[in-house]
């Protein structure tokens, strides 16, 4: 396996007295597509939020592209990272949220352009070209000047993906990106993710309840149960041929 793009080493996370992640060890290879499944409350969101630096691990380390994420090395010791260090490492990571979180005071195009210009110093003209190209790719080339409030949920989520992609992350995180959508809009969003996945070079971690979709695009499926990785393997291994009772009873809820 090539040098992993992200590594979790014995990562624990507690909220108050409640330990929600109880020692996560996970490696994600460059360009690998990982589907994260598990019952509600098992800690899926928390795992990817820690990688996005939105939640700090209680203990353990996360390494992104060879660099500690939440720590820095100082005189041979690991000390908590400062904001500057976080900014430097988190540039490799992008995320799409369940509730889109588009900036409501900006047009669709501005939503996509604001970060490349301000964060990466991309010239305005180039940022615009990249954004338009990306919005066209997600099928919204005709909505550039619309505001988020004028769009359907599915369109909003596609903008959110374009916005994250314009930053060219090495890993993209998806947190149940279709679960806030009306059923008839789920397809268009999954279609876009499928296209992105096909292009290849970016690693993807997808928290999802869409099992058919997971089977379709994932290289590996990870089953999380009560804060631990309980099973992992290829989609066939995990989704079809597992012996685990917990896993099978979880999966049976998705079979109609």
């Amino acid at each position: 396996m090539a040098k992993p793009i992200a590594v979790y080493n014995d990562v624990h996370k507690s909220f108050g007295d409640v330990e929600v992640l109880k020692g996560i060890d996970l490696e994600i290879a460059p360009a690998e597509k990982v589907a994260l499944i598990g019952p509600s409350g098992s800690g899926k969101t928390t795992i990817i939020r820690m990688l996005m630096t939105l939640e700090q691990p209680t203990s353990g380390t996360i390494v992104v592209d060879g660099q500690y994420l939440w720590h820095m090395e100082k005189n041979g010791e690991l000390v908590p990272a400062n904001e500057k260090h976080l900014r430097q490492v988190r540039g490799d990571i992008g995320m799409v949220f369940q509730h889109f979180n588009l900036f409501p005071h900006m047009s669709i195009l501005e939503n996509c352009m604001v970060a490349p210009i301000n964060v990466k110093g991309v010239p305005k003209k180039e940022a615009r070209e990249r954004s338009v190209e990306m919005l066209e790719k997600v099928g919204l080339g005709d909505k550039l000047d619309d505001y988020p409030s004028q769009l359907s949920g599915g369109q909003k989520q596609r903008v959110a993906m374009a916005r994250a992609l314009v930053m060219r992350p090495k890993i993209m995180l998806f947190d149940e990106v279709t679960s806030a959508l009306d059923p008839e809009l789920v397809g268009e969003v999954l279609e876009v993710i499928r296209d992105i996945a096909k292009e290849g070079e970016m690693a993807m971690v997808l928290v999802t309840h869409e099992m058919d979709f997971a089977r379709d695009i994932a290289d590996r499926v990870v089953f999380l149960d009560e804060g631990r990785i309980a099973e992992q393997g290829t989609p066939e291994q995990v989704l079809e041929n597992s012996e685990s009772e917990r896993l099978n009873s979880f999966l049976s809820r998705f079979r109609s």
């Binding site: 996005m52 630096t53 904001e83 900014r87 949220f97």
Partner: protein, 209 residues
Amino acid sequence: MKGINITITVLIASAILSYLVAFIAGFGRLSNNIFIRKFTGFYVEVFRGTSLIVQLFWFYYALPGLFDIHLASDFWAAVIAIAMNYGAYMSEIVRGSILSVAKGQREAATALNMSRFQRMRLVILPQAVRMMLPEFGNYLIQMLKATSLVSLVGLTDILYHGDIFRSTHLSLAPTVYILILVFYFILALPLIWLTRWAEKQSSKGVASE
């Protein structure tokens, strides 16, 4: 009618200064530094907890008498009193609006790797300001009304001139006060419109939970 220009200049100067104070104190109360937070909190409580007229007299009489501090002129004493008072109230609006921008907005900005300052400038503040505008407008109207207090420390605003005129033309007293009422209302009208407009603006382009 004389005095209108005083009323208007006091209003404009106090408005600008009070918005400035409101932002400084509002951010102060959100600061990571506990001393700044406590200090601005203390300021806000003191100025909200005492009446404007007492503060006005304080700036006008007590400060020069007690500490030999002379604010540049009567005009500025009045303006600073009004600005500090309304700034204290409006700092709560600044703080509240910033806090009420949805958490997801901050997180999305972080996910795009914006710095703390960029998150505030590009994402939080533009939305928070939209929420502040209508409240700011309401306070502006109140500030207009509060400017009439400056006649008590000898500034020659509308009310002051009205009073003088009445004391020399006693029979016209009711007419004078009706006129003053009308003047204040005419001055307030554009502010009321402004506030309505701000309310419309603020209903667009804000995500809050």
